[in-house]
Amino acid sequence: MGQDNEKAINKPFTISTICLGRDVIVMKMKQFQGKKYSIGFRYALALIIVPLASPVVVSFIQNATAISSTTLGPISILLLTLAYAWCIWSIRNSPEFGPSEEEKTAYQIKALNDHSIICMTDEHGTITYVNDKFLKTTGYSRDELLGENLTILLPTSIVALYDFARQFVLEGNTWNGEVRMKGKDGQNIWTHSTVAPQIDKAGKVIGTIAIQTDTTQSKIAASEKTMREAFHLLHDEVYMFEADTLRYVYLNQAAMDRCGWNKTTYRKKTLIDKRRELNKDEIFNSADFYDRARPLIDGEVDEIEFILEDDIQVSEVKLQLIQPQNGPSHFISIRRDISERRAFEQTKNDFISTVSHELRTPVTSIKGALGLVLSGATGELHDKTQKMLDIAYRNSDRLTLLINDILDLEKIAAGQMELNIETVNLTELISDSIAANKSYAARLNVSFVGVGLEQKAEGCCDSDRVFQIMNNLLSNAAKFSKKNGEVIVTLSDMGDRICISVEDFGKGIPEEAQSSIFDRFTQADASDRREKGGTGLGLSIVKALVESQNGSIYFTSEVGKGTKFSFELPKIGKTKIKNPTIGLMVAAE
């Protein structure tokens, strides 16, 4: 075989030897994948095989070329080094080899940091580490959190659960569960959390590490889904539409039924379409709606409530505006069929009306007849007859009061007590009520003293009802005062409310009777009713009347020293428009 031929054979042989070496190594690597051989062991394998193959390679080169041994030496070392480097490089880059353990750990940590909210605390719960995602989710800066106790991120309601979980982890366990945190702006952050102990080399628990997955979005989505499903089943009609375009975004089943639309059609409709389709109202436009919804848009009221009446039913509609911080505003209107309630109210109203007529007619005759006889209009009376008739007359009087009081209570309970709430000059009203009760008190040798009646005080209330309240409190105070006693009536300004108190210095209410003093048919002492008169309904009416005017009533009393009843009335009315005749029918529809 000539030298040229030898060259031709040896060259590929040299290359194939190197390739073989590489393949063997790769093959070995493959074989060792998944086994616990260290990287060092694999490198050593490469280091043994390549040097073993190198003398063979050198002798091939020598045979194949005319290069002298002195030149060949360094060249062959260079070649060998290159071959070795290539070999190692190809091992490292072969798909079978994969990333190093360090790289894998680094990748995992990065992925973990991208996915999870991570927080470490010491054994006392003080925050020692938070990752970037933690800061991004909660809105806090690192400086604001490090050194603080983790409880600053927890709503008070779950602190007890947190303490339990922390204790559990500090005992060396891992805790899994759902945790709600509060962000810097007070927003709810729902997380699924795994909390594990941090253990030092001595095996002592030195803190906790919490890995949390933010589940807020799915939580919101789930709750919205549940809410919508619940809305869907409501008998009330629910409409939700965009504040700027008035386009519907949600109608529940009842609303769809009324409009004759389905899930796909209503999304193309607006409030104006509905108005035109259902009410054949050609002239109604969006400006009309915005005019009427103005108090909501301007934030003057939280809710607009009105009554809609058509041939078929009476409905009560409530309109609200929802303005989330991030996201579009929506109007939501809920329409409830109150026909049955109305019918029931009407029946009850008729009943009260009938009863008051039927009861008062005979009482009118009894009282009238007795009054005439007692006045002497029918002739002189024998003493004993006079005495008996006096009793009858007094009791017919009481019966009248009782009927009036019961009917008043019934009306209040049925929500039929008509209240004419307006701004009332309370100074004047209180002075008038004192004047009106003066002669009654004088008969009992009791006098009224007004305090603070020189200042101007205005309240938002029904003047007739406040007068009724005052009559009750003043006559009570006079009744239970000692002879020649005083009753002090005080008017005071409490900022946003006016307080009126009526204080007597009579026998006071025993402690055991205090809790039930506002109950029906209650008087502190059962013998009081006969002795002092009254129905035992007065204070329960007073309380109901005060409360129906958004006021409050309370008292202090001490046996032997006296009683002080105070009631407060608001200066300004409630921020809620209630006007059945407002005709704001469009808003809801």
């Binding site: 007619t361 009118t364 008509e418």
Partner: protein, 125 residues
């Protein structure tokens, strides 16, 4: 001085009796009493009253309807009217006043002071 003539319409005969005693004996009025609106309408022109005193709740024709019908008769357009009612609902009182009543007296009424109440209402109007 001529006696003031009052047309009293009241379906309850006991109350009629009491009111009669009160208005005639205590008040010194001349009184014509009718138990229904129908009766009142047929007798009112002969009597020519100075005042109507009308019960509100009556079968067949309630007090307000009686007044509306009385007003249709010649010479009775401006005759003052007072209602007596056992229903103390505020809106009803307002409605009755709107109908032209000069006063609404609540039942049970006090027969001793009834004549004075009537005189006061008349003098104010």
């Amino acid at each position: 001085m001529t006696m003031l003539k009052i047309l009293h319409v009241e379906d309850d005969l006991d109350i009629q009796e009491i009111a009669k005693l009160s208005l005639e004996t205590i008040g010194g009025f001349e009184v014509l009493q009718c138990a229904s609106g129908k009766e009142a309408l047929s007798e009112v022109l002969d009597f020519a009253p100075d005042l109507f005193l009308l019960d509100m709740m009556m079968p067949e024709m309630s007090g307000d309807v009686v007044l509306l019908n009385l007003r249709k008769l010649p010479g009775l357009q401006d005759t003052p009217a007072i209602f007596m009612t056992a229903r103390a609902q505020r809106n009803e009182i307002v409605d009755l006043k709107a109908l032209g009543a000069i006063e609404v007296i609540l039942k049970p009424f006090d027969p001793i002071t009834l004549p004075d109440q009537i005189k006061t209402a008349l003098s104010i109007s």
